[in-house]
Symmetry: C2
Subunit: 155 residues, 2 copies
């Protein structure tokens, strides 16, 4: 009788352990919603950053993943840009404004010619879709790297 | 003793029913990655379709959710359009081509002035981000509704 008890408890524990695994798989799938693309060179970016260009006909649509501490240099978009954060937590800063924490579900509108940078947070990755408006005629302009002091200015 | 058995089986079933509920919540959260917006009027759409405009500065970025059987009329975009499917399963068709099943993770590029329609599938919702390029200067042109025969032409 004791064995039957133990067997029932065992079945109960085993059955309930299946679901967390399923949840983890779902979460991983979500990070890979769109292609990750290739690591971008470090002339305009710092750290590990991956980009896949999804379409590029006048306006450029790309999927960008920043590993923790990975970030763009300061830059601007003469046509403006919209960021749609699809996963993780990162940072965004416009020149002269405080650093802002951005996360999954956030939509960030960057005005024409506004100098700014974006990247992963100190300990988490961040993935966003970037819509660079009118990118073909007015490509991004790139400036200096984000300093450690600027990067660590998160409150 | 029989009561203890029944209690153990009850606990086992109850515990395991918690996880599917959790999974369902996760799945719902994902559908709400970006705002759902408001139901659009049925002059250019059929059925239940929701749209939130996320940014609209030259190029329009919007989040569109089609309930099952919900769809656009036939239309085109003089500047072209890119669809990024973030959830569910739906249909897409360009004039003169077979109906195509599209699902979460798919990227669909629609050329300039190509007449087409998109919507949810017969039994599932579909959510996509729509990037309508140069929409301000060249807004979409709208045509006739998609007939039941056209909608049901899925293979």
């Amino acid at each position: 009788m004791k064995k039957i008890f133990l067997a029932l408890i065992g079945i109960s524990i085993f059955s309930c352990q299946q679901s967390p695994t399923k949840n983890y798989e779902d979460s991983t799938k979500q990070e890979l919603l769109f292609p990750k693309g290739n690591k971008v060179p470090n002339d305009k970016f710092d750290g590990n950053v991956y980009q896949a260009i999804l379409s590029d006909d006048g306006t450029r649509v790309s999927n960008v993943t920043f590993e923790p501490k990975g970030r763009t240099n300061w830059h601007n978009h003469p046509g403006g840009q919209t960021l749609l954060v699809t996963d993780g937590v990162g940072y965004h800063q416009e020149e002269g404004k405080p650093l802002q924490i951005i996360k999954k579900g956030d939509v960030i509108k960057i005005g024409k010619n506004v100098k700014h940078w974006h990247g992963g947070s100190a300990d988490q990755s961040m993935t966003h879709i970037a819509v660079s408006i009118d990118h073909e005629k007015n490509p991004s302009q790139w400036f200096e790297a984000v300093s450690e002091k600027e990067y660590q200015a998160v409150r």
